[in-house]
Amino acid sequence: MWGKKLLVTLAIATVASVGAAKKLPVEDAVLTSPPNVPPAIERDHNARVVVHLETVEKVGTMADGVEYVYWSFGGSVPGSFIRVKEGDEVEFHLSNHPSSKMPHNIDLHAVTGPGGGAVSSFTAPGHTSTFAFKALNPGLYVYHCATAPVGMHIANGMYGLILVEPKEGLPEVDREYYVMQGDFYTKGKYGEAGLQPFDMEKAIDEDADYVVFNGAVGSLTGDNALTAKVGETVRLYVGNGGPNLVSSFHVIGEIFDTVYVEGGSAKNHNIQTTLVPAGGSAIVDFEVQVPGNLILVDHSIFRAFNKGALGMINVKGDEDKVVYSGKLSDAIYQPEGSAVQTMEGDYKVAKAQNKEDKIKFGKRVYDANCKACHQANGAGVTQAFPPLAKSDYFNEDPVRGIKAILHGLEGPIKVNGESFNSVMPAMKLEDDEIANVLTYVLNSWGNKGGEITVEQVQKVRQQKGH
C-alpha cells in the first residue's frame, strides 16, 4: 500500500552488549514490508539481533477514493516482518516519530516476560526506547501496540509478525509471503469516499466496515497479486491483527499440504481452511500444481466479497488437465447482495455531473462490487466469469448490462466465442450507481465508449419480467 520498500536497518552495535550473558555475534535484523519476508536464516549459531522499528502515524489509502489515518510499525500495515532464530537475543529499539500524536509501545507475543515488552517500550513522540529479550520459543508470533486505548491502536493498524525459526530451521520452500488480516471501523460505510475517521462505537460493537489483508482493499489483487510458478512450493506466514474478528483463512483452489497450527510446532496436513485467531497466526505450505488465480479469502465469506478480505496468487505455468480439467467451482462463494448499502441520514452523496464524473464514480462502484469476479482489467475468469473487456455480448447491447445488474443473470451465454454457464446475483445498487458503473465499463478496456443514463436504468427497472 505504501510502496514495497525493503527496510534495512542501520547498525548501532555499540550498545549491543547490554544485558548479554554471553557475548554473541551482533547482527542487524533485515526487516521487510508486506508481502515480503526476510530471507531464511543461514547461520547455525545464535546471534544478538538488533531491531530498529519506528512507529509512524500517516494517511494511507484504505480503498479506491477512501483514505484513512493509519498508525503503523515501520510505515506499513501490517508492520515490518521480523525474523530471528530460536535462542537468539533480540535487542529492540522502538522509536516513535516526532510527528506522532500518540505515545506507542510494542507487545511481542514472542517475548517471555511481563507485557511482552510493553512497559519497557512505552515511548512518547520523538523518543526511542530500548529493551532486549531472548527468543526462547520457536513459532510465528504477532506483535502489536498495547498503549491505552489498546483496541484503537490495533484497529488503526499497529500489528505485525515476528518469526522465531526453530533451531533446525523450517523446510525450504520456493516462495514465502507475508499476509496479515485486520478489521477496520470507519465513520462512513464500506467504499464511502474521503478521509474516514476511526469509529469507536462500531469498533466496540465489532461491526467492521472493512476486513482486509495487508491493510487495504486490493493490496494483494490486480498488480499487487502474489506470484508463483507451477511446481513451486509456497509458504504463507498468515497473521491476524484483529482487533476483533477471527479469520477463517482459506485459499480458493488450493489445499494446504501443511499447516503449522496457530503458528506453533504442531503440523497438520491436508487442510482446507484454518482458523487464525485475532492476535494469532498460522503458517501454511502448499505446492501449486496448475496455473490460474488462487484467491485468498476469509471464508466468513461476506467479509471477502463485501468488506475487502480478498487476495490473489497468480500462478503461471503449464496446464495439467488431469489435476484440473478447467471448470472452476467457486460460483457458490458469490455474494447474494452487494457491498453498497442504502445511505441514511444526512450523508450527502456526490452525484455525477458529467460523463467524466460518471466514469470516476463508476470505477469505485466497479471496484467495490464487480472487480472480485470480472477482474480489475475486465478480463473475467475463463469458464467462470465472462469478460467485460471488448465483450461482444455487452457492446452489442449495453442494456444487457443494466438487466444483468438489476435482475442478475444465469444460464448459458456466449461471450467472444466462449460459452459461460454460471450465476450472477442481482446487485443492490442505486440507479445512478448502475449508470455510472456501466458508463465506466463502456469507456474502459477497449470497449466502444458512450454513456448509460439514469433514465435508461429506470426504464429497465420499471419493466416487469426480464
Binding site: E57, H97, S100, K101, T123, T147, P149, K187, F198, D199
Partner: protein, 257 residues
Amino acid sequence: MKILSLIIATVSLALAGASEQVLIEGGEYRPLYMSEDSPMQTVSSFYLDQYPVTNQQYLEFVEQNPQWRKTAAPSIFVEQDYLKHWDSDESFEAIAAESPVTYVSWFAADAYCQSQGKRLPKVAEWELAALASETQANGSLESGYKQQILTWYSKPSPKTLPSVGGSPANYWGVHDLHGLVWEWTEDFNSTLVTGESREDSTIDTKLFCAGGASGAVDPGDYAAFMRYGFRSSLEAKFTLSNLGFRCASDMKSANGD
C-alpha cells in the same frame, strides 16, 4: 453568574503579554480511573488562560529570563529538542508567532507560569474545563463531542501548527483545549496508567485510590483514555513537537485579594 465571572476575569490580570484568564466555576468531577461508587473529586473554582501560551509570549519570557534561553537551559530540565523549532535563542519564523509554543518541558512551562504569578493547571482542573462544549459546562454527553476530539487525536500533527484561537470558545470562554496541542498539567505524572495499560487494573487500588482500565467510569470514553495515556508517557524534561501549555491561577491570587 457567568457574566459576572467574565468581568472579574477581564480585570484580573494586566501583565504584559500574559494571556487573559477566565473563571472556571468549581464543580464535581469523577476522575477517569475511579470506579462508579468512588467519591467525586471536588474541584475549586479557578482561573484558566483563555489560550495556550504562544511562541511570541514565550519569547518575551525568555528575554526577561535568559536562563531559559534555548542554549542556556540546563539539560536536567529540558531535553536537547527544547525550542527546536526556534531559529536561535530569540527568534523563530514569523508565521509561528501566534502558534502555541511547543518543544517545552514541564520545568520550563512551570517557570513561565510562576514568572507571571500563575501556575500550571492540575489534571482535574484541566479535565473539568475541557468537559465543556460551546454551550454547556458538561458537554461530554452531546452527540459528536467525543468523536470530534477523537478525530483530532487520530491525526498526526501538522508541520506548522495553526495560531491559537482558531476554534470557538467553550462554555467558559476558553479556546483550544481540544484540537490544537497537548498541554502540560502540574501533576501530569500522578496518573495511574502505566506503560502496561492492560495491567493497570491490578495496581493496588487501596494504596493509590485508583484502578485501571477495567475500573474506568466510562470505558467508552476513549478520548479521555488517550489523554491519560499520553500524560503517562511523559517525563518532566521531555520536549515534544505537539505539547504546549497554558497557565492557571487560584481564585485568591487572580482576584488580587
